[in-house]
Symmetry: C2
Subunit: 325 residues, 2 copies
């Protein structure tokens, strides 16, 4: 294993924390956050020292009917500006664009006209050429760009090597390791991070990590990959995110030693906004069914259905997963 | 860091899983489990391949009034036998004896007359001589013995070195690293485990790890220390245990590669017994207040009081913790 970069007592200036609450959390409530929620989260993130706030997806309105989703699935410029004005803060703003699910040539204005700083291109490992096309397009528009390769725990090692070479040669600023299924362990996440970091060093890219909490390892995997040199760290308030959720922002900010990060505002936000959201019936977070799909390195879709049906027959569910391998 | 022992795909025959649900979980419900619960847990552990089941404490009846606690605070021989008979299974039975809180010379019969296999002696680092006296006494009676040094995250490195030498020279079979405050990170837990493992190699002892989940790292720390050679792993059903709870048995058994371990019975037990226990109002598990005491390397007592009062003013709580450093 590569040596650790920095140590548990010190600050690394390359570290950037990205709040993905509205984007990944939006998958739990159809992106239907109140403006008050998003505004208060924006203010909280600024006070907490968060480096990037992701407002949502910029999805195609041809493929997805805007009447059927909250506005953060589309992240229109005017909707972001209604929250942040011209965003005079030091915190940067990102949106996510999925390969094959956005009209990137129509829906993005040049960075000079946009309040967005960074576009994160999400793809599966078989979509790298399409991702590279988008990344280079956004780079030419003036945006910072990331390539988030999803579901990496199901990809083959040789495929990953090739994908990293292709993205290495693109104009991406950051390459993200994404544990979509929450099936990585710190040891395996660390090993993959090392591979990404080698590409990063070769091509001058920074590396990011996006965790899911299926096996209660989102925070552990985040700080493990951080320790080897990963710089961009995704987290969400109360770990809100699809299925088992993500790395909790409160755990991450409590761990990082840079004094710019602090917990006070976030703790108040958790009480005033995240507890009521949970009480209102929005469901996310670690649970047995997500643990099982994580252990089996599977997409959480069956676990999400199990959750939606309020089932608790874990053993039957487990047997059904094993039947469908 | 020491090299990892074995790898993530293989079986290590030195690994032993200990179920501490009734003992550490008993701290959440005053040890008032029904006989049905304990009997079903016993059967479940056997079917799951668990190596040891801890039935509780053997506390002094002079110091603790038996009328005010459930019977598993005392673990009388006849009470254990009423569940397990002569325990004809391969699973071994343990009880915990706290230094200074048990009458060990009066309350233990020789192993040949007992259904108990192992006595785990729990102590703080300033109580090692008393622990060694008890360990040697239990060894002479014929029991396997552990020394569980609690609250290790607050102990000084030189103290730990000296304590390990003293226990190394005792008759203890196993030395446990205990993260009572849930404040270790995988990196720090791994570093401590390495120190324990060096003593273990020197004196022929095995090493154990007991986690708490304050920072959602109980499972991560358990498998991290395991990877360096720790053999005895504590876990509890649904992570039931004081405050933020322990390493979840279901996470651990799902991770271990030895085919003797399996999840089927445990998943049924979780549905039939752990969910109703939670619904009945017994409270444990990861929550913001425990995260904060873990981050600050503090005893969880203030967080337990905050929980009991059903408070959610996390920011005020955090400020009060910082006031009392």
């Amino acid at each position: 294993m590569a040596p650790r970069k920095g140590n548990i007592m010190t600050v690394r200036d390359d570290v950037k924390v990205l709040d993905a609450t509205v984007r990944d959390g939006g998958l739990c409530n159809n992106f239907e956050f109140t403006d008050e929620f998003v505004t208060e989260l924006y203010k909280t993130n600024i006070k907490s020292g968060v480096d990037y706030m992701e407002f949502g997806y910029r999805a195609s309105k041809k493929l997805f009917d805007p009447k059927r989703y909250g506005k953060w699935k589309f992240c229109d410029e005017e909707d972001i500006r209604s929250i942040v004005g011209d965003n005079i803060s030091d915190m940067k703003i990102s949106v996510m664009a999925d390969v094959g699910r956005c009209d990137f040539k129509e829906d993005f204005v040049p960075k000079s006209e946009s309040v967005i700083d960074m576009v994160r291109v999400a793809c599966y490992i078989n979509q790298i050429p399409a991702a590279v096309e988008m990344i280079n397009y956004f780079n030419n528009l003036g945006y910072e760009t990331c390539c988030n390769i999803m579901a990496i725990s199901q990809a083959d090692t040789e495929q990953i090597d090739e994908a990293l070479e292709m993205i290495g040669k693109s104009k991406a600023d950051v390459i993200y390791l994404v544990d979509s299924y929450g099936s990585l362990y710190p040891e395996t996440a660390g090993r993959l991070a090392k591979k990404y970091l080698e590409t990063g060093e070769k091509y001058g890219k920074l590396i990011g990590f996006h965790a899911h909490n299926n096996q209660n390892l989102a925070f552990a995997n985040t700080i493990e990959t951080l320790s080897y040199g990963v710089s961009y760290l995704d987290a969400t308030a109360s770990s809100m995110g699809r299925g088992a959720g993500n790395c909790a922002m409160e755990l991450l900010l409590g761990f990082l030693k840079n004094p710019k990060y602090n917990l006070y505002s976030l703790l108040t936000f958790l009480e005033k906004y995240m507890l009521p959201l949970k009480e209102s019936g929005v469901v996310w977070g670690y649970d047995i069914q997500y643990m099982l799909t994580g252990q089996l390195n599977r997409h959480p879709r069956e676990a999400m259905a199990f959750t939606a049906e309020k089932r608790t027959d874990y053993c039957e569910f487990y047997k059904s997963l094993l039947d469908n391998f």
